[in-house]
């Protein structure tokens, strides 16, 4: 049951004039999961959602919901519902009428509508709000009404387009937990779109990261953070230090990487000698020593410290001027500013990333579509 595919996006492209917004997208959403499409604005995540909802037509490729192609179905014929960023509540209707809208359209009996609406209102903790109008509600309450209005139709998949985008930080954090809780309680598949990485990491079972119309990685939050598939993802999710270089020798999963400033050891799979690659190491995994460390020919000096509460960030400058970040506990005794240090890391903590494949892919795309 858990692994049943409910939405399948097959080789979907969306082109607006000269803009190739979504590129060869393949995506399988599993029954009951909370899947987030994460990316900065203009990456194609909202367009993808709108194509699944039926508001936009894919230029090529197919979209299947429960194994059935939906290309020729209008939004009102699809068994998916959307929660809009702007809530899109009907301002001339009461909360009751807003939530009941979908059932009224489907000509449900009055008594049944009444019962289901009150169920929904208690689900989103808005009992007693039936007779109010949207303008009398706060942002968070409106958002709950929007969710109730979508859920009452019992959708196979709930599509959420940055639903918390308009709320303030505190309320947003609270709603994140509520949404996640609601989703796991109801067991409805959520396909969520956001540009907020923390939001994505907090709520999702899986995250799909989109960049320039390409789905670069689809994995669990942990995998995304620990094993970013591309250089972009490594820099996009959390903070990291990136070293670009070339593989000098490979020994199993370990590789010696030649950098401008020396050489380091990294860990990864499927790498070949002389390949151009990037090594990513998170600031909290980066270490330093006052003596050279075997396998790492890196050195630099401490430029400054930044105190950020529980931790201190050290900025270390390499001989070519490249700055790397390192995180230490604030309680630790740290070398003086200006000291020479030798950065290194546990090989297992680093990630080797094929540097240029995505870039190359994009270059080919650009040639194809002008």
């Amino acid at each position: 049951m858990k692994d049943e595919i409910i939405v399948k996006v097959n080789q979907v492209n969306k082109i607006y004039g000269m803009n190739h917004v979504v590129k060869d997208l393949n995506l399988s959403v599993k029954q009951g999961e909370f899947l987030t499409l994460l990316g900065s604005s203009g990456c194609g995540k909202t367009t993808t959602l709108r194509m699944i909802a039926g508001f936009e037509e894919a230029t090529s490729g197919s979209i299947l919901v429960e194994g059935e192609p939906v290309e020729n179905k209008e939004p009102f014929e699809r068994n998916v519902n959307t929660v809009f960023q702007s809530y899109a509540l009907f301002p001339h209707m009461t909360i009751f009428d807003n939530i009941a809208y979908g059932l009224k359209v489907k000509k449900f009996k009055k008594s049944e509508i009444k019962e289901k609406v009150s169920q929904m209102l208690s689900l989103v903790q808005l009992e007693g709000f039936e007779k109010r109008y949207p303008r009398q509600l706060s942002g968070g309450q409106k958002q709950r009404v929007a969710i109730a209005r979508a859920l009452i139709n019992n959708p196979k998949v709930l599509l959420l387009d940055e639903p918390l985008g308009a709320l303030d930080l505190k309320l947003r954090k609270q709603m994140q937990l509520e949404l996640k809780e609601l989703q796991s309680r109801l067991g409805i598949t959520f396909l969520y779109v956001t540009h907020d990485q923390e939001e994505a990491l907090t709520m999702s079972d899986r995250i799909g990261i989109m960049h320039d119309g390409i789905l670069e990685q689809l994995a669990t939050p942990r995998e995304i953070y620990e094993k970013p598939a591309t250089r972009f993802i490594a820099t996009f999710i959390g903070e990291t230090n990136i070293f670009d270089g070339r593989i000098e020798t490979v020994e199993g999963d370990f590789a010696k990487v030649l950098l401008e400033n020396g050489s380091v050891i990294g860990k990864g799979e499927g790498f070949v000698k002389d390949e151009l690659i990037s090594v990513s190491i998170r600031p909290e995994k980066l270490k330093y020593s006052m003596e050279p460390v075997e396998g790492f020919e890196l050195n630099g000096y401490v430029k400054s410290y930044i105190y950020v509460g529980s931790v201190i960030k050290a900025i270390i400058v390499l001989p070519n001027g490249y700055e790397i970040k390192l995180e230490r506990l604030a309680s630790e005794l740290l070398p003086e500013i200006g000291s020479r240090v030798f950065p290194y890391w546990e090989v297992a903590d680093s990630v080797l990333i094929h540097s240029f494949d995505q870039t190359f892919y994009r270059a080919v795309e650009d040639i194809q579509y002008g």
Partner: protein, 290 residues
């Protein structure tokens, strides 16, 4: 003491210079003429049709003459159908403009506004020369051998409706456009998303949220329609009068100013009544440009 005197002057001069001209303008061009019309409506005339300042209610009694009542009814009838036709034509048109891409939107909007800037009297004469017995339409139809003798297009209620709709169409389109433009596209998508088809979405979401535009447009069409005497004069040939014709005739050929003034007062009262109904229905005065 001196201080307060000083501040009084400091406030008075800017107040007079800013609000003063507008107040004078309104006083001399709106308030005084209105009072004059009101006073005139209670005056009587002597045997030479000169106004004499003797109080009388005769003018108002004459307004209930059956001939007049018939013309009020006819005027309301014309105004009503003009409004209905304007709504039916104007709504889809305004919707189309409001939802068009911005480059095309400007062009379409200009198509409505440019005739609006042109004198309507000239445009109505244009229709007369187009529809007349020796007009372009008849000439073309005869050249094409579709008719043998010229058709009388003018001088019926149809042509008056045509002229009225033609003159007043922009007054309907502009408030409708404003209302539809403001409508959030997401609401239409939300309605579709919740399972509603186009017609359901239109009647339950689009129309209720733009009805203020329909009300405002209706008021802006209906009221002038009662007074647009030149349309019925030019296109109606004097047999489909509106209230405006009655007033115009009393001031011109009839030379009975007090009666004309009484008719004007009736027209003003009708206008106020309609605006009151509009407000009761939830219309807001800003959409009328007031």
């Amino acid at each position: 003491m001196t201080k307060s005197k000083h501040s009084l002057r400091a406030n008075t001069i800017p107040a007079i210079t800013t609000v003063g001209p507008i107040t004078l303008w309104l006083l001399f061009l709106v308030a005084i003429p209105l009072v004059y019309v009101l006073v005139m409506s209670f005056c009587s005339i002597d045997e030479f049709y000169n106004v004499s300042y003797h109080f009388t209610l005769d003018n108002y009694k004459r307004l209930f003459d059956t001939n007049y009542l018939q013309i009020y009814a006819q005027s309301l009838f014309i105004a009503f159908f003009t409004t209905v036709i304007c709504i039916l034509l104007g709504y889809p048109f305004a919707y189309f403009i409001a939802r068009a891409v911005s480059k095309r939107k400007a062009i379409l909007y200009m198509l409505v506004i440019v005739p609006f800037w042109t004198n309507s009297l000239i445009r109505i004469y244009g229709w007369r020369s187009f529809l007349g017995t020796n007009g372009w339409l008849n000439t073309i139809l005869m050249k094409l051998n579709l008719i043998n003798t010229p058709v009388e297009f003018l001088y019926n209620r149809g042509t008056i409706l045509l002229g009225m709709v033609y003159c007043l169409f922009p007054f309907m389109v502009i408030p409708l456009y404003t209302a539809i433009e403001k409508l959030d596209q997401n609401l239409i998508e939300a309605s579709n998303d919740l399972g509603a088809r186009g017609i359901y979405t239109f009647s339950h979401v689009i129309l209720p949220l733009t009805i203020s535009g329909v009300f405002a447009g209706s008021i802006m069409v209906f009221i002038p329609c009662l007074g647009f005497f030149f349309v019925s004069d030019i296109l109606g040939g004097g047999n489909s009068d509106v209230i405006g014709n009655l007033i115009e005739r009393q001031f011109q050929s009839g030379n009975n100013w007090p009666l004309g003034a009484a008719l004007s007062i009736i027209l003003i009262l009708m206008t106020l009544l309609l605006v009151r109904i509009y407000q009761k229905l939830g219309g807001d005065m800003e959409s009328l440009g007031v």
